[in-house]
């Protein structure tokens, strides 16, 4: 295949598959914990983080990592203190951090920033450095999910019981939010800030309808996400469409077709 001989496509496919795999597995925990909207909120905060990086002259991706993790934990702490409801907290933060980004970029006049690329993804801009950061963050996310698999499961399934046996519930909540933030920052290159929460939500939502076994759900989500990322990238190359949008549309199509099949399947075998 000729597209695989292009260096930028190789990098894009590699980073796409890393991001797809991470989104699929992390996403299952996000959807089960009903944090999809939190994911969308943090992804918008990434814009503020990237702009802050440019403004201060720091590495935008690394600045965004720190910024997003702080925003995510900040929202969680606000919700825990029972001062503000979750959707309100997310709503306040994601608009204000985006506004901050726009403000900072405006202040840095004459600076040529690929704004469109950050918002909607730009696989042509994937550098070796991006790939290395993605790999490192990918290892951190995978290790955390593997190590705390049992604890995360209980903290989502039955938080009261988790507290009774003395699990560090706050730590686990912050951990999950931090992992979401890390994931979002490395996915920005592929699908962009606006579309990134799709990777975190849709494959997991698809998989959760097909199995009642957490490990199988993770496997289905992974296969779905990897297939859609590879398929979407290839399609976008031949159709000359935006890569991020193509991946998201393909993932969504699979979701609706699967939903339809699932409903038909349940009607045939109501007890299955």
């Amino acid at each position: 295949m000729e597209i695989l001989q292009l260096a930028f496509m190789q990098r894009a496919l590699l980073i796409g598959l890393i991001v797809g795999a991470l989104g699929a597995t992390l996403g299952v925990f996000v959807v089960l914990k009903r944090l999809s909207f939190m994911g969308a909120g943090i992804s918008h905060a990434a814009f503020g983080g990237i702009a802050l990086g440019y403004f201060l002259g720091w590495n935008p991706i690394l600045t965004a990592v720190i910024f997003c993790v702080s925003v995510g934990i900040g929202i969680s702490m606000l919700i825990e203190s029972n001062q503000i409801k979750e959707d309100t907290a997310v709503g306040v933060f994601f608009t204000s951090t985006m506004a901050l980004g726009i403000l900072l970029i405006g202040l840095k006049k004459g600076y040529n920033i690929d704004l469109f690329g950050y918002l909607f993804g730009n696989i042509l801009a994937v550098s070796r450095e991006d790939l290395i950061i993605s790999l490192v963050i990918g290892v951190i996310i995978t290790f955390s999910l593997y190590f705390f698999y049992k604890e995360l499961t209980l903290s989502i399934l039955d938080p009261e019981m988790a507290r009774v046996i003395g699990l560090p519930l706050n730590f686990l909540n912050y951990l999950l939010v931090s992992l979401i933030a890390l994931f979002i920052v490395i996915s920005v290159r592929i699908v962009g800030i606006i579309l990134v929460s799709a990777l975190l939500t849709i494959p997991a939502a698809t998989a959760l309808r097909w199995s009642k076994n957490l490990k199988k759900v993770l496997a289905i989500s992974l296969i779905d996400s990897l297939g859609c990322t590879a398929g979407g990238l290839t399609l976008s190359y031949y159709l000359d469409t935006a890569s991020g949008a193509t991946i998201v549309i393909l993932t969504t199509l699979v979701f609706f077709v699967s939903l339809l099949l699932n409903i038909v399947n349940r009607k045939i075998q109501p007890t299955a």
Binding site: F147, K150, E151, D158, M161, R163, G166, L167
Partner: protein
């Protein structure tokens, strides 16, 4: 049997402005089978949650095994808990045996995986509540009574030294309810401390060593026959309560609703 395992000292708790518990003092000895009874809103569940460390009292101290609950560390996993209205997401993709295994998570330790011996304990706990055939089912497929049984199995899976139960036989049919109390009696013989909240005064009076009557304050903590003889029940439930006799111990029917739903 004389050694105290749970000590509640001068505990007051309120959801301002509502005072739920007022200056409660209660000592539970190691191996004691204690039933806490009292009207709805009398603070029974709140007291259990304070013992478990889920709620912090505004006043007073609670000691479990001689330590404050926050300082218990690993010993915490020796407390088995069966909540009344469990905040469990029953759509969660998890099987019955995996669910019961979560009861052992405190013993297994952070970041570690269950071993074959852990799975053996889970099967043993499921057998105790006669749910072993349901091991591989998803928890959402169970009926209300079966859900209650796996909650009990989960608490047993942790090999508890203290078992704390909040209305454990709600939603369980009469036959299961009886065999459940038989199970508690067997655990009681193994020197496990049992603290249960119940509406079913007549039933618990047959099994428990002592009854604590709680209505914001601790009205009485004594042997069942003493509590019943002294007319504490009328004082607590009021004139609307109706009694009927079954053997030597009167059953109480609060507001004329049957004891079993």
């Amino acid at each position: 049997m004389e050694e105290p395992i749970v000590e509640i000292k001068n505990v007051s708790f309120s959801y301002p402005p509502l005072e739920v518990l007022e200056d409660v003092n209660l000592t539970v000895k190691k191996g004691e089978f204690l039933a806490i009874i009292g009207p709805n809103g009398g603070g029974k569940t709140t007291l259990l949650k304070i013992i478990l460390g889920l709620l912090k009292p505004q006043k007073g101290e609670v000691y479990v095994a001689g330590k404050r609950i926050g300082e218990l560390r690993k010993w915490r996993s020796k407390i088995g808990y069966v909540p009344q209205a469990a905040q469990i997401d029953y759509t969660f993709p998890i099987t019955v045996e995996e669910f019961v295994m979560t009861g052992r998570f405190g013993l297994i330790g952070l970041g570690k995986r269950p071993r074959p011996s852990d799975w053996e304990m889970v099967q043993k706990a499921l057998k105790e509540v006669k749910m072993e055939e349901w091991s591989k089912k998803q928890i959402g497929e169970l009926s209300g009574g079966q859900r209650q049984k796996i909650l009990i199995a989960r608490s047993l899976a942790s090999e508890p030294e203290i078992l704390i139960l909040d209305e454990p036989t709600t939603a369980v049919d009469l036959e299961s309810s009886e065999s459940f109390y038989e199970l508690l009696l067997r655990l009681h013989k193994e020197e496990i401390t049992i603290i249960t909240v119940s509406h079913d005064v007549g039933v618990v009076a047959q099994y428990a060593d002592s009854i604590a009557c709680l209505n914001r304050r601790l009205i009485k903590h004594n042997r069942p026959e003493e509590v019943i003889r002294e007319g504490v029940l009328e004082e607590m439930y009021g004139k609307e309560a109706a009694f009927f006799h079954h053997g030597v111990i009167p059953h109480i029917v609060v507001q004329k609703t049957p004891p079993e739903r």
